[in-house]
Every structure is written in structure tokens, then in C-alpha cells.
């Protein structure tokens, strides 16, 4: 008796949540039970059949991308909004206007396998866009990482010396690689945003 009551309550709750969603999402199979007003339509299944790509809430300011990121799903397989991406699977987050934080995307870190060592660039080095700024070693493979922008390297992530696995576990958070002070912000315009990056992954 109580079992049926629980099911009824759950389905009522589900219906209540569904009704609060935007129209397009109401018929979706996956419904988040936490009411997230910014839930947007899930991406088509043809892109990533094995994972449900649930969009994160868009950030109005890029400033806190690496700070208070409670809106980013803890599942780091999804590429966060608000970051810029390259075809070499690096991401760039902009802090304070001209400080770029660089790392490699979850897609790349998964494809590479368990990272066992990260070669970091030296602080103070000046970099030209497209130049290698280090390398990641995983499964006997040394893979070069390229800088999407020109500038000077202000800081490198020393945590990666002891814990190279952060690149796999938290590619967008503690697995960042280096911070570059950008001189020319026009280089950012040629980088991809989240949607284009998702399409790029799907098409390759």
C-alpha cells in the first residue's frame, strides 16, 4: 500500500518538475529532479551516444570560471560553457581580461589515458601562439601541448608534479596546466566555443 503511495508521490513530483521545464524539454526522457531553471535542451543523441550531455548553466561572467563553479556538473566529461577550445583539444579560460588559464579538455585526457607525467613550461618564458608549451605523458606516449595564444607564462600548476592524474580527474579544475598573460586578445576570436567544439569532436 505504502509502496504504491510512494510511486504516486514520486511520479507527481516528477510531473511537477516536468511542468516547470521549458516546453522542448518536457518530453525528454531524462528529467533533472533538482529544479534547474536554466536546464536547456539536451544535445542530439547522434553526437555522444554513450553519455548524456547535459548542458551546464551559462555563466554571465567568465571571471569565476575556475572559482565558484558550483553550476558545473561534477562529471568532467562535459565541456563547460564559457571556455574556449582549440582543435588540439586545449581549453582556455579568461580571468581578469587578459590572464588566460590553459589546460587540456576531458575528451583529450580520456583519449590519452592515465597521465603519468606532465612536462610544464618554465615561468617567465614568452610564448608565441602555436608553440609547444609542454607535454603530457600517458601510456608510453609523449604528447605535445600547444599554446593557443601568445604571451608570457605567469604561473604553472606545480600540483601536477606530484599528482599528474589531476589532468584526468579534473581537467577543467585542478588539472589546469599554466597561466599566460595575453598581449593580444584578438587571438581568442579564432577559438571555438563549447557548441562548435562539441560539433568538432562529433565530426572527427
Amino acid at each position: 500500500m505504502s509502496y504504491q503511495k510512494n510511486i504516486l508521490m514520486a511520479s507527481t513530483r516528477l510531473a511537477a518538475v516536468r511542468s516547470r521545464l521549458p516546453v522542448a524539454a518536457r518530453s525528454a526522457k531524462f528529467v533533472p529532479l533538482l529544479s534547474n531553471r536554466f536546464y536547456s535542451k539536451p544535445t542530439p543523441k547522434t553526437i555522444a551516444p554513450l553519455f548524456t550531455v547535459r548542458r551546464t548553466a551559462p555563466s554571465t561572467s567568465l571571471f569565476n570560471v575556475l572559482g565558484r563553479r558550483s553550476y558545473i556538473n561534477s562529471n568532467d566529461e562535459e565541456t563547460p560553457e564559457g571556455l574556449r577550445y582549440t582543435e588540439e583539444h586545449e581549453w582556455l579560460a579568461l580571468e581578469d581580461g587578459n590572464l588566460a588559464v590553459i589546460g587540456i579538455t576531458g575528451y583529450a585526457s580520456k583519449a590519452l589515458g592515465d597521465v603519468v607525467y606532465v612536462e610544464l613550461p618554465s615561468v617567465g618564458a614568452s610564448i608565441v601562439a602555436g608553440e609547444p608549451i609542454g607535454a603530457v605523458e600517458s601510456v608510453k606516449s609523449a604528447s605535445d601541448i600547444y599554446s593557443p595564444v601568445s604571451g608570457e607564462i605567469i604561473e604553472v600548476n606545480e600540483q601536477l608534479d606530484k599528482k599528474p592524474g589531476l589532468v584526468n580527474a579534473e581537467p577543467y579544475r585542478r588539472g589546469w596546466i599554466c597561466k599566460i598573460l595575453i598581449k593580444d586578445t584578438t587571438e581568442l576570436e579564432s577559438m571555438m566555443d563549447n557548441n562548435r567544439y562539441q560539433t568538432f569532436i562529433a565530426s572527427s
Binding site: A111, K140, S141, S204
Partner: protein
């Protein structure tokens, strides 16, 4: 059928290739290699398998110098075109290079390894065996004239860690069958080629750059395996040293020779690559032989630059990631420990007056035997450090 659709969907996701030809090889099909492959497995339900053709170039080195061979390999890789997504053209064939070379006895460590931990530096010096750091990842190997190395360079979008190893296995297995030998090779989860007794006959290492990648590996034909323990494993003396720090650690495996001649191996490999990646009807196909004398002046300049880099102490020892090197007494009590970063001593920890007296002058010197020994007085420690570092 639903299951077929699901299978196709799975196969289209990179890394989950249910490539039918892999089943032929003695390999665990569930061990999916999360290869950096953006290549879609062919989903065609037709029976004909499309052979991907390449513009294959084969180089064989006549030089036995590991410095020349590794530099030439690097030169070929630099010259290899980078195939990015916007340069993909369906009309022109992508290039694929096979480079085969043999080195005289030398120990080759991976790009991010610690030579003091992985090798017995003192023993190498005693046996006059050069230590070289290569540019690809992976562990430590001993090369000698009974070992033939193969290096395959491919476009980045078709990078696969096992494809060429599997190809070599199939080719060699048919050779063994013909000769009536029992040896059966297969590729294991660590991307090594092993024989039927799970003994490693080939190790692999890889390097990925924008648009291109290479896979190179050893092939133990008639190598002196007894030298392995003498040169790589730690002797009684060097057991009194401990190395702590990051860096890729080698995974030891029992090894074995496959016992065919280098000529047979080279011919088998070239024939297999030609059969797999070309139409086979190219009459202009030829194997290019290279050595120090046959390269042009421009090539020589570039190659010599790489040779100098490989020979330099800064690259071989100085580029080791930050580590702590502890020296112990015979009864395992600590004697002195050096913290070294980028080849320079950052810190020294010791209770011994022989070291604490000169601590200020030692900190900041290069971590080379002669340099450190010249800063201390004790004869005994001078000898020990010159030998060990």
C-alpha cells in the same frame, strides 16, 4: 536489428573499435586501447573491407650509432607533414614512413625518466655503454646489435597504438609457421609484443604532435639479454642509493629473443607494410638506405644539431624532473641526500661534517660527480660520488 545498431553505434565511438581483424590476433578483445584515434571504424555492412592506402616510404639505416639513428628519426618526423583536419584531402594519399635501424650497445631511457633510478649509472660507465634519453615516452631499454628497432610515422588522425604491432605479429607468425617454429606472437594490454610464454620480445613508445605521431619499438632477435641485469639492475653498491621523485618508472618484464636473422625480420616487415598499405604494384617503390655519409649537407646540419642535443649532459641528465637522491651507509642509515632540480643541487641534508662544512658551496652546483667532489674534502666520499653520479 537493434543489437547490430547498438554495435555500430559503439564502434563509431573512438577507442571502442570492434575491428574484426583484431580477433585473428591472439589478443584480448575487451582490452580496448583508448588510442588517440579520431578515426571512425568502418560501419559498412558490406563484406569488402576497404584497405586504407598510404604513400609508404621505407628507410633503413646503415649506421649503428644510436645518436645518428635517433637524430635521423627525429629529422624524418620533423619533415613528416602535419595532417590537420582542414588539410585533409581525399585525393592525395597520406604519408606513412617505416624506419628500421640497429644501434650498438646503448641504454635508451624515456623522455621523462630518472636515469639514476632506472639504470645503474656506475655500471654503464664501467662497461662503456652510452646512456641516451629519447624524445618519446615510455621506459628504459637496452639496445644492441641483436635488436632491430622499427619506427612508424603516421598522420595524427589515424594514430593507433597497436595497429602496427599487430601487423608485425601476423607477418612474423606466418614466418614461424613456415619454419615450423613454435613461437606465436601477440600484443598485450601494455602494447608490448609478447611470445607464447608471455615473454616480451618488443617494447613500444610513442610521440604525438600536432597532426602527426610516431610509434617506435624494439624487436629482440638475438640480443645479449644477460647484459640487461648488469646494466639496468642495481648492484650491491648502488642499492645504497635511493631516488625519490616523479618521473616515469619502467615496468620490468621477462624478455626473450625470437631468434631470426635481422635480414629476415627487415624483409618480413617491409613486405607486410607494403602488402597492407600499398597496392603493391608500384614499380618505383624502393627502400632508401641512409647513413652518415649519404645525407646531404643541409640535412647534416640539422641532424648534427639533434646529435649534439642528445649527447649533451643537460638533456640526458640535466632535464630530469626534480628528485631527491639519498645515499646510505652499509647499515642503511642515511648519510647524505641531495635535492636536485634541472641538474642543479637545490638542497643538501646530512648529519655528516664532511658535507655540512661545505653545504653553502655545494648548493647551487651542477649535479655532476666531478663538480660535487671538488667541493668536498673527504677522499672516500669523492670516490663514491664520482662513481655514482
Amino acid at each position: 536489428m537493434k543489437s547490430q545498431e547498438a554495435r555500430r553505434a559503439l564502434a563509431s565511438f573512438p577507442g571502442f573499435g570492434l575491428n574484426a581483424s583484431r580477433r585473428k590476433h591472439n589478443r584480448d578483445a575487451t582490452a580496448t586501447s583508448f588510442s588517440f584515434s579520431f578515426r571512425r571504424q568502418s560501419n559498412s555492412s558490406t563484406t569488402s573491407k576497404q584497405k586504407k592506402l598510404y604513400d609508404l616510404e621505407v628507410y633503413i639505416s646503415r649506421s649503428r650509432s644510436p645518436y645518428f639513428n635517433l637524430s635521423y628519426e627525429d629529422y624524418l618526423f620533423k619533415r613528416f607533414p602535419a595532417y590537420t583536419s582542414y588539410s585533409a584531402s581525399s585525393t592525395q594519399l597520406s604519408k606513412k614512413i617505416l624506419f628500421l635501424y640497429t644501434n650498438y650497445r646503448s641504454v635508451i631511457i624515456g623522455r621523462n625518466q630518472n636515469p639514476w633510478r632506472e639504470t645503474n649509472v656506475q655500471s654503464l660507465r664501467m662497461h662503456n655503454v652510452p646512456l641516451i634519453r629519447r624524445k618519446s615516452g615510455g621506459g628504459t631499454v637496452l639496445h644492441d646489435e641483436g635488436n632491430v628497432n622499427y619506427s612508424v610515422m603516421m598522420p595524427g588522425n589515424s594514430f593507433d597504438r597497436d595497429e602496427h604491432a599487430l601487423l608485425l605479429c601476423t607477418a612474423l607468425n606466418s614466418v614461424f609457421r613456415q619454419r615450423g617454429e613454435e613461437t606465436v606472437l601477440s600484443v598485450n594490454e601494455r602494447h608490448d609484443i609478447v611470445d607464447q610464454n608471455a615473454r616480451k620480445v618488443s617494447g613500444s613508445a610513442y610521440k604525438l604532435q600536432r597532426g602527426k605521431a610516431y610509434h617506435h619499438g624494439t624487436m629482440l632477435l638475438n640480443s645479449r639479454l644477460d647484459m640487461l641485469s648488469k646494466l639496468l639492475h642495481h648492484s650491491v653498491d648502488s642499492r645504497l642509493e635511493l631516488v625519490e621523485g616523479p618521473g616515469v618508472q619502467s615496468v620490468r618484464s621477462p624478455v626473450s629473443n625470437i631468434g631470426i636473422s635481422d635480414e629476415l625480420f627487415v624483409n618480413t616487415a617491409i613486405a607486410a607494410f607494403r602488402r597492407e598499405y600499398t597496392t603493391g604494384s608500384d614499380n618505383a617503390f624502393r627502400v632508401r638506405y641512409v647513413d652518415e655519409d649519404s645525407i646531404t649537407k643541409e640535412e647534416e646540419q640539422e641532424i648534427n644539431q639533434t646529435i649534439d642535443e642528445l649527447r649533451s649532459w643537460e638533456w640526458t641528465f640535466g632535464s630530469t624532473p626534480k628528485f631527491v637522491h639519498r645515499y646510505l651507509f652499509g647499515d642503511s642509515t642515511p648519510a647524505v641526500s641531495f635535492t636536485v632540480k634541472e641538474g642543479t643541487i637545490l638542497d643538501l641534508e646530512s648529519n655528516l661534517p664532511e658535507f655540512t662544512e661545505y653545504k653553502d658551496s655545494i648548493i647551487g652546483t651542477t649535479y655532476r660527480g666531478a663538480d660535487v667532489a671538488s667541493r668536498i674534502d673527504s677522499e672516500r666520499w669523492k670516490q663514491r660520488l664520482i662513481g655514482a653520479i
